[in-house]
């Protein structure tokens, strides 16, 4: 009787591996190969192998876009964290029923495609949009404020689209936070800041880091947000990558940029695991890191 279960388990694993291999590994290997071929206007890519595309990553022009992209994504992540952390904290204090309702309300908008929501933001931020009509109508400003097609609009859009990805891991972290630890800290004479600094923050750090990672990396690539809200200037790395494939037809360079982005993600994930280990070690309880 054990045998069918056994085969079932292996076939499930085999299927998963096959799936990952076909749709994750193979495409990425192809992208990697393309990144070391030569661009060609006639055939998209041709031999010989070359590292030219990789060298171009260090072109000051693209480095600058990279830094700017990093800055916008970093700002987005920071704002998401500042908004998401208190929200997750409050959420964790609430009775289970309320928590469910609030989480549900946060997720409902995400049943609508993010592209459509981005268009909606575009309409709201325009010179005759809701925000400016309100500002001018209430006499707060005489002229409409230029909100749309600015870096502000891009960050606003990114924060709006990515906020749940920050909140969800944080809520999970706060869930795991043992209230008795806070009581113990209070008994030992710790003020609110000390309790936060030495108990809450370290124990929710994995959630903070996980949230930051899954906000930061997509933010670098969401080219449609910067196209629609930023006025189609090349603000994000994603715009440059898209242009290489769709407009300039330099596939190797586009591939090299994609791989570079993936490598950045891998590096950040590694940092996450490294940090996680360190935090566990300092945690005292559940100390399995040593």
């Amino acid at each position: 009787m054990i045998k069918p279960l056994f085969t079932f388990r292996y076939s499930v694993i085999a299927l998963t591996l096959f799936w990952l291999g076909l749709f994750v590994l193979v495409p990425h290997v192809l992208v990697l190969i393309v990144s070391v071929l030569s661009p060609d206007p006639q055939h998209l890519v041709v031999w010989p192998l070359t590292l030219d595309s990789w060298a171009r990553l260090f072109d000051p022009l693209y480095l600058e876009v990279f830094w700017y992209s990093l800055w916008l994504s970093g700002l987005t992540t920071l704002i998401c964290l500042l908004l998401g952390y208190p929200f997750a904290w409050v959420l964790a204090q609430l009775p289970a029923w309320w928590r469910g309702v609030l989480l549900f309300l946060m997720i409902v908008p995400f049943w609508t495609n993010s592209l459509i929501r981005t268009y909606a933001i575009k309409l709201s931020l325009g010179n005759k949009g809701v925000v400016n009509s309100l500002l001018v109508g209430l006499g707060i400003t005489d002229e409409p404020v230029e909100l749309l097609y600015t870096p502000f609009a891009v960050v606003f859009g990114l924060v709006y689209v990515l906020l749940p990805f920050m909140v969800l891991p944080l809520v999970a972290s706060f869930d795991k936070l043992d209230k008795h630890l806070l009581e113990a800290a209070r008994d030992l004479g710790a003020g609110w800041w000390q309790r936060f600094r030495h108990v809450v923050l370290p124990l929710t750090m994995p959630g903070v880091i996980a949230g930051c990672l899954i906000v930061f990396l997509p933010a670098m690539g969401m080219f449609y947000v910067s196209d629609l809200l930023g006025g189609a200037k090349n603000l994000l790395l994603g715009n440059i990558i898209r242009n290489q494939f769709m407009v300039v037809h330099d596939w190797p360079f586009g591939a090299a940029l994609s791989v570079a982005l993936i490598m950045l993600m891998a590096m950040l994930l590694w940092l996450y695991f490294a940090a996680n280990r360190r935090i566990n070690r300092q945690g005292g309880l559940d100390d399995d890191g040593i």
């Binding site: 230029e146 200037k233 407009v247």
Partner: protein, 343 residues
Amino acid sequence: MKLPSLLATLLVAAATSLYAEEKVVVYNWAEYISEDSLAAFTQETGIKVEYSTYDNNETMYSKLKLQQGKGYDIVVPSTYLVSKMRAEGLLQEIDHKKLTNLPNLSISLMNKDYDPGNKYSIPYLWGSTGIAVNSKEIDPATIKGWADLWDSKWQGKLLLIDDLREVFHMALKKNGYSTNTTNPDELKTAYEDLQKLMPNVRVFNADSPRQPYLSGDVNLGMIWSGELIMAQQENPDIQYIFPQEGAGFWVDSFSIPAGAENVENAHKFIDYMLRADVGKKVVEELGYSTPNGEVRNLLDGKYLNNKVIFPPAEAVDKGEFQKDVGEAMKLYNEYWEKLKAGK
């Protein structure tokens, strides 16, 4: 006995599926056809139209290149892309004998050097790229040509078409060069001039350039003639200016990709679009110019006398039609990347 009956079933299945797949796959510019005419075509011929759109030549080219000319039966490239795609074997010859309405087309836009004898392309619509001004906000009389867009008082105010050839056209014309230049020095001058223009740019748009004008987000910038006509239907204050240095002119043509699967239907579709009554509807709805002489005979005076749709001869003489620039495209692309990154 089993095999023949199986064969018969297969044949029937094949026949029904063939019948079911009487279709034509059209890949056209966004907002570049009258929706009614698609439905009417299906009603008349029984051929289903699978329709999808792109917002710049390069996107369509990339897709077709990647699929080696397969997947679509009709595409609508601009002139310079017709010559490029033809040279790369991405297009197939169009059988003129199957196009009964071909004589409707006026001679002046036929047989150009991008496609001698129109073997690979049948002109669909043409138009110009000029300047749009919201006359409520800006006095149109103060805007004479492309050079006026460089004025520093427009900082962060302009809309540019998100298309490198169109944007370079402005700077090249401003400096008195050809829009089809392949001379690196001229290109460099144009690029350096455009660098000075970039601080004035609020937004690049190519999917629907009229929208930012209508929503009041921009009051000055580039626009396509047809987009302007469509904008005026909602807001008559938006006006068109033929820049004194010369507007950009382009022709978009029907072509059949080399790997098209429904070649016969593609011909039927082109022939249908060449019909005078169909062409009339397209002009009335989209506001682009037609190369179809019969359509002009049917059109109302208000369309025929509209200088945006049918520009005066002097404006056409000053302007220039786009051609393929060959290898120089690489340089164009390089400069374009820099400009869009704000360099």
